[in-house]
Each structure stands twice: as C-alpha cells, then as structure tokens.
Amino acid sequence: MTFVSKPAVHHPKLKLNELGLNRRDYEGSLSTLCAGCGHDSVSAAITLACSELSLPPHRFAKISGIGCSSKTPSYFLGKSHGFNSVHGRMPSVATGTNLANSSLHLIGVSGDGDSASIGLGQFAHIVRRRINMLYIVDNNGTYGLTKGQFSATNDQGSTSKKGVPNLYAPIDLVSMALQLGATFVARSFSGDKAQLVPLIKAALMHPGFAFIDVISPCVAFNNHEGSTKSYGYVRDHDSQVVAADLVMHRDEITADYAPGEREDITMPDGSCLRLRKLSADYDPRDRLLASNYIMQKAAIGEIVTGLLYIDPAASDCHTIMNTTTQPLSELDESVLCPGATVLSEINSSFR
C-alpha cells in the first residue's frame, strides 16, 4: 500500500464524459492493498467502465463480503452507497438491496474464498434468483487477507509459496454460474484491461444477473512459480474466445469484420453489444457448448477468457416475482397502506 494519497490533480487533457465528469471523479479512497495486487486493477477497471458509460457515480450500491477483494469497494466510486457485509454473505445483502431499490446500479465484489468456500450456498442462490447486478469475483486462488491458505478455486497440484501442492480439485465458479442459469457469464484477467473494461461495461448494461470471474493475482501469497493464478501463468495459458465491445451509439460502429466473426446484440437501452469471435468454434449464445468448451480447455490447462455466455433476452428477479421496481423509499403511504377496502378485498380473495 502507499501512505501518500493520490493527489486530486489530473492530466490537463483528461476527457470528460457525457455528465461532464472525468475518470478521476469515479475513484474511491486510498487503497490499503499490497502494491501490485490484482484487485486494485479490477477497481481501476470498474472506475474506467463506469465513467465511460457516463453513469452517475452516486447512483451505485457496492456490496461485499470479507477478504482483500471485499475491501475494494472502498477504493472505487467513492461517492456512492456501500455495504461491507459478513464473510460469504454479500449475496443476501445484495438481494435485499436490489429488492428495496432497483434503481441503483448494483455491484457485488467478492473473493474466491468469500464466494466459493464460506459463501458457496449464497452464491448458488443469488445466481438462481437472477438478481439484476454485476457480481465480480476477484479470483486469486487463495485467502489473501488471512495470509495465503489455498482457496476452493485453487487448482489441484498448484503449490503454495513454500512448495506444498494443493490436493483438492478446484471449484469453477464460471461453470457453476452457467449451470445455475446465469444470463451473462464472463472470465477475465486483472492484467488485461483491454478485455476487462468492455466486459464490465457490458455486464453493467445487462438487464439481469451478470457474473465475471476475474483472475486477479495475489502478489503477496500466490504469484510464485508453481501457482496457476500468477501473472505469468495466466498470461501464458490465457485463451480468449469472445471479445465484447459495448457501443453506445450505433453510428460509432466503424470497424469492418468478416461475416461470422461478429455479432451485434441490441441492449435494452438502445446501445449495441458487439461480439467479436476470437475462436471460430465458439458460440456465446449456446450454454451447453460453453460449458463443454470451458471444461475441455481446462483439461488441457487452458484458461478460457472473454464473454463466455450471454442471453440477451434475460429477465430478472423483479420480473419473475412481479414486484415493484420503484424504490421502496419512494412508495408513499397511499401505496403502502391502501386502506380498509383493499384489505377486505384481499381477505375475501382467500375465502
């Protein structure tokens, strides 16, 4: 970490977004993570994505559990709402947040320990419930905050810093999310903002549950030879399948692609998600194929990254349950307390 905070002064030509804000307006407070921690890069990518989307920085809710990763919501979007909850319980608090106020952009940040160990049950259910949110796991294969125990996503045979191999097979959160019905599933790498930032933008605009597993090396405890979640290992074994570019206005689309290489998906707000296939035999709309492909590649030691699955016709929890999307705080007394006549109508419907 640093003790000197990042001064407010910025590049004189820093671009302004449609709200007249620059990227620095989306930053948070001084990070206390280790210098070089991948999680800080993920925070920077979120900052960049939100400012490029011109989303109002105070209209976010950031929820997290416990872990170095779960500390990061303090380090981005400093002017928004946040809840640093209990280990593994981010999904519950996020669910409540979304039910109470779905007008806030919801970002949940968790770690592999937070989501794949103690919080695995919570993870499964929030996916199943289709909460409209961006769920990010900063996946470093270790419990960083408690000083480097193997986590449940750590690969079998991958070693600790002292050279001791991990004896258990890993949980793959991406495969689980696919199996549990997530409508936006991606994997990326903290060291590749060119891939990560557009994925975060697309996920924020996705009208349902969006999950991104970000491999985010722990420089302190899991960045050595023998680790499969180090900067070097991930770069060497990265296999990119589909790149996503969110284009805010259709007329900005200029690049030409050969047919079959690209696909445009219209987003609910009129923007366009442009998919570029980097691997010919991959279709990000085919859930089964995606699952198989990821497992096949994992078997030969490749880490598949990019937009792995998307269902453009996604729906969310509020639609499924037919609940109000109006923030509860905005419901007035006449709506909350509709009076004796309505109550007697309801009562009579049960008779």
């Binding site: 640093t2 000197v4 407010a8 004189p12 820093l14 070089g36 920077a44 060291g191």
Partner: protein, 616 residues
C-alpha cells in the same frame, strides 16, 4: 520506438525543465530542496557555482526557467524559482569556508579580461582557483558593468551588488579600473596568454525622425540616461516624460523617471502589448506604479518650437496577421496623435559597438558588428581572443553572461594548456542515486503540494516612489519561502524503469494521477503519442520507452506532466520503478563548492557497464 537511452545525460537533464532552460544549468530542484531544509548557505553555494551572482539574479534574472517549469503544465503558475534564489541569498550564513582556495603559487599564465561586467567577473571566478593571473580592465571606478550602471537601485540594492562583485574581485584579481581601452592592438602588445572580451553591447539605438537633432537637448538615449542616474550625475527629471520603447530598459526608464520627480510619465510602444520585449512582471510592476503603457503608436516626428521640445506626433496602427501568421503593423487610418512631452527617453534597443578593436588583428566581425565565434568554445577567429556576455552575440542578460563565462573559462584553460578546445572539452555526465530509504520512505518530499504560487510582498508605493534607493520587493520571508519551496516537484528525482523486474500488473498505470504510464504494443512515435492513456501532444517532451516486456508490449511514459510524486514506485511490487536522483554534471572548470551527494547507479537486476559520462 527504440528503447530510451537514459544513460545519455541529456535525457534526464531535459526532464528537469528549469535546469535545462537555465543557460547556466543551475540545479534548481536541488537548491530548492536545500532551502526546504533551511540549509540556505548550501543553497546559495550551489547557485554560486552555477551562476556566480545568486543575490543579484534572485532579484533581476530574466528567469527563462520559470516559463519552462513543469508546474506551468500541471497547473498554471511556475514555482517562483527566481525569488527562491533570493531567499537563499537573503538567509545564508557565513560562506567563507565554502569558497574555493586560490593558490599562492600561480601557474604562470596571464589572462586579460576586458570589461568588468558579469561575464568577465565570472571568468575570473573560474580561472583564479586554477592558478591563473587574472587582470580586469574597465573604464568605470568599480566592477559590475551594466548591473551597476543600468539596473536601478530600486530593483537591485548596491549592497547586494557590491557583495557579489567583491566576492570575485577579492579572490585576487588584478584590477585596472578607470582604464579606457581604446586599442585592442595595445592590449595584445601586453602579451597576455589569453584575452576575454566582456565589454558588453554598450550603444543605445537612436531614432532618426524629423525634429530629432533640433530638440536634441530634451531627448536622451535610455541607457546613457540610466547610467547617469546610477552614477548620480542626474537626480531629477522635470515635466512630462515620454519613454519610447517596449523592452526592459523602457520599464526601468519610466519607473526611474517616476521616482525623479516627473510630472507625468507615459510609455509609448510602436507594437502591441503582447509582443513587447519587456518581461510580464516588469510591465506589471510599471503599471502598478501608475504608468500607462500606450501601444500601437510608432513615432513620426519630434515637434518643437525653435529647439524647445513640445511633444511627439504618433501614427495609429494595428497589428494584423499576414499570410504567414506573422504580425504586421498596418495604419488604421485614424488621424495622427500628438502627445505633449518635455523630455523623451529613447529605449529602443542596444547594439554591439567596439570601434577600439582594430579590424586588422585577425578578429573578424559579421555585418551586425558581432564577432565571428565558435558557438561552443566562444573562441574568435584569433585563437587567443575569446568573447562572452553581451559582446558575443548581442544584448542578452546576466545569466547568459555567466553561462558564456563558464564555457569561455574552459576554453581558455584548454587553450593555455595546449589542448584541443573541442576534442578535449570535458563531457556532460550523469549520476543516478536511488532515493529509496525504506518502505514508503524517500530521500525527498514526494507528496504533491497543490498550493498556488505565493506572491512576493512589496514595500508600499508611497515609500518606494519617493526614494529611488528603496528596493520595491521585500522578498519572501522564511515562512513564505518555505511554503513556496514545497511547490517544487523535484523533477530531478527521476522515474527509472527496469524492464526485467516488471510483471505488468498495471499498478503504476492505475495509481499515476497524471496518466503518464501506458503498457502498449510498440509503434512509431507519432502513433504512440496518440494512443497512450493520455494523448502526448507536447512533442517538446520526450517519451520514455522500455525494451520489450514479457508480453512483448513496451512501457511508455510521457514525461510531460509527471509530478515526480513517486506513487508509481510506491505501488510497484517488484521495484521495477525506482525514484532516482539524477545529478547532471555540467562541465565547469571550478570544483564544486559543496561535496555533491555522490551518486551511485542503482538499477536492480540490470548489470550494465556503460560508462556514466557521454559526450554531447
């Protein structure tokens, strides 16, 4: 782009914008740090080594460093570099023990310095410790040249001037004052081993328009008039005064007139306000004293009544851009204007003038009457004669005179030792020293200070306008000086990158407040400049490019607006970034007065044996 050769001393020197812009390459950030540590004496000596007249320059320097200062680009106003120099001079303690030893036993070589202005004095300062016998000749009673005869006392008190002039003379110069040099041939007959001509550019330009001759009694050449004031031959000016000209001399003339009892003073300039030669602060100071500056009025005629000056007739023009974008004066067609005047001071420029150098001595001159010189060695076409200061390339300023003097002294020493002036010239050098002291601990105050430039307090005009000897500026007191010192960004503490250590985690990119750093596929410079984190539009500033990294990308750093805050190095998990203090060795005859912090190259992981000095 090719990887940057950071061992070329010019590379990091250029990053220290102020030092690079200073003709004498004064190590500005280093002395500002000494001021911040309240080590004023050391700060003074560091200056003295580079520019010989810190107290004088801290009040009068043309300050080319300030427009170059990085803070102009990161915010707006430069560090008050010049006034901090004065802080060092005002607060210094005893400097005797730092002064160079002048050997009793001379080296047998005799050098004549013609003129006792700043150029000659600085040559004397450099030559004396080497054992030279140095003789100075000047027609005046005292040394200092135009610093004494031109710069008014309300900008430069005599005590300050005397102190720094005497410091040099007391090192053991043989002075020949009140000595009019009227023949170079005679001087050469004295058989000195080398001659340095530092006689300045002493002739003020005249304006040949109708009425000039007839009303001559009421018209003075600005610099002649100023020297008469300085030497107390003139102590008042009556009636309405018009000063013609838009340079610093005009500003000194009008402000002096204002103090000597003029009924009214106007400055009239033939061109526009923005293109006036006077520095902004000189214009501001004149206007603050209630002196109007009237622009776009070229003079047509001195109107007089039988030799009694009545005033001046001016044409009305405006500045129009021609097809090449150059400004041109075009008459507006308005009727000519007449302005009353009882006295006119002409401050429309200075020229080189040395009729006493016979033209058959092998010293050649160009058509502007400037000597033909080697620009690096300052040697004339006669091998034992050197020029410097205003006499070399026309009127400049004190800091330029000191810079010339260092080069001329090196040349004279090489010449007298029978060496080649170019091949044997000492080279520029670079020393780098890591400023890392420990975890998050740096040998400099790395944190960015966002405060705006502090203003120098002035004495109340009701006092200064009455007495020409009262210095207008009070200078920073200690408190303000220390605050202003904090604004310096320490541009000499360099960001040094070691590619072998970089794991490309992006930590530096994320933390850099100024978006200086990008990891990108390599490309040509023009392409890179437009594809970085922030577009690198200032082509004057270099891009620092690494060798290819593990991903085959390169690290590119735009030096333009780097704050030298060290956050990149603090955030780097592997020390691939390090903040290293660069000490640029500027060739000089004189040994440094301070034991300069010895630099050792610390570049972890890199085992190169490239020598740390290189020739320009």
């Amino acid at each position: 782009m090719k990887p940057t050769n950071i061992l070329d001393p010019n590379y990091f020197h250029k990053v220290v914008d102020c030092q690079w812009a200073c003709p004498a390459h004064t190590p500005v950030p280093e002395y500002i740090r000494l001021i911040a540590q309240r080590r004023y004496t050391e700060a003074y000596m560091l200056n003295w080594d580079s520019n010989v007249f810190p107290g004088i320059l801290g009040r009068t320097c043309d300050r080319p460093c300030e427009p170059a200062c990085r803070r102009v680009r990161t915010e707006e106003k430069p560090v008050a570099i010049c006034r901090l120099k004065r802080v060092a001079a005002d607060h210094k303690g005893d400097i005797q023990h730092y002064l160079p030893q002048v050997p009793e036993k001379k080296n047998g070589k005799r050098v004549a310095l013609l003129g006792a202005g700043p150029a000659s004095l600085a040559v004397a300062r450099d030559l004396l410790p080497m054992g030279y016998e140095v003789h100075i000749f000047d027609r005046e009673k005292a040394g200092g040249g135009m610093m004494r005869s031109q710069i008014p006392a309300f900008r430069l008190p005599q005590t300050v001037l005397n102190e720094e002039v005497d410091l040099v003379l007391d090192m053991g110069v043989d002075v020949h004052f009140e000595y009019e040099i009227d023949s170079m041939r005679d001087m050469l007959d004295k058989e000195f081993d080398a001659y340095f001509v530092g006689t300045g550019a002493p002739r003020g330009r005249n304006l040949e328009i109708p009425g000039r001759e007839e009303s001559g009694k009421h018209i003075s050449i600005g610099i002649d008039w100023l020297s008469s004031v300085a030497f107390e031959h003139i102590d008042k000016i009556a009636g309405k005064v018009i000063v013609l000209g838009g340079g610093n001399t005009a500003m000194d003339c009008c402000r002096t007139s204002r103090r000597l009892g003029a009924e009214s003073v106007h400055v009239v300039v033939r061109s526009g306000f923005d293109v006036m030669k006077a520095s902004d602060w000189e214009k501001e100071d004149a206007m603050a004293e209630g002196i109007p500056i009237i622009n776009n009025r070229p003079p047509l005629e001195f109107v007089h009544d039988n030799g009694k000056l009545k005033g001046i007739l001016f044409q009305c023009v405006e500045q129009v851009e021609d097809e090449n974008g150059r400004l041109k004066s075009v008459p507006t067609g308005e009727p000519d204007v007449f302005m009353e005047a009882d006295h006119v001071l002409m401050a429309i420029g200075q020229e080189n003038y040395c009729p006493w150098i016979e033209r058959d001595l092998g010293i050649e001159f160009d058509r502007w009457d400037c000597p033909i010189l080697n620009t690096e060695t300052l040697q004339s076409t006669r091998d034992n004669v050197f020029f410097g200061g205003d006499s070399a390339f026309g009127p400049e300023n004190i800091i330029q005179a000191s810079a010339h003097a260092h080069q001329a002294a090196i040349s004279i020493d090489l010449f007298c030792s029978g060496k080649d002036l170019l091949k044997d010239r000492p080279a520029y050098g670079l020393r780098l020293r890591s400023s890392k002291m420990g975890m998050h601990e740096w040998a400099y105050d790395s944190e960015y200070d966002g405060s705006v430039r502090h203003l120098v307090p002035h004495v109340d005009p009701s006092i200064t306008l009455k007495d020409i000897k009262v210095e207008v500026e009070l200078g920073f007191d200690e408190k303000l000086g220390l605050k202003e010192a904090q604004r310096c960004l320490n541009c000499d503490v360099q960001t040094v990158f070691t590619e072998q250590l970089c794991i490309e985690c992006d930590a530096c990119v994320d933390i850099c407040p100024m978006d200086c750093i990008t990891f990108t596929p390599n490309a040509e410079e023009e392409v890179l400049r437009t594809t970085l984190m922030a577009s690198a539009d200032n082509v004057e500033q270099d891009l620092y490019v690494s060798a290819p990294l593990a991903t085959e990308r390169v690290m590119v750093k735009d030096e333009d607006v780097c704050l030298h805050c060290g956050l990149c190095a603090e955030r780097c998990p592997t020390n691939a970034w390090d903040m290293q203090t660069s000490i640029i060795n500027i060739p000089s005859l004189a040994e440094p007065s301070l034991p300069r912090a010895r630099g050792v190259q610390i570049m972890p992981g890199k085992n190169d044996s490239t020598p740390r000095t290189a020739k320009l």
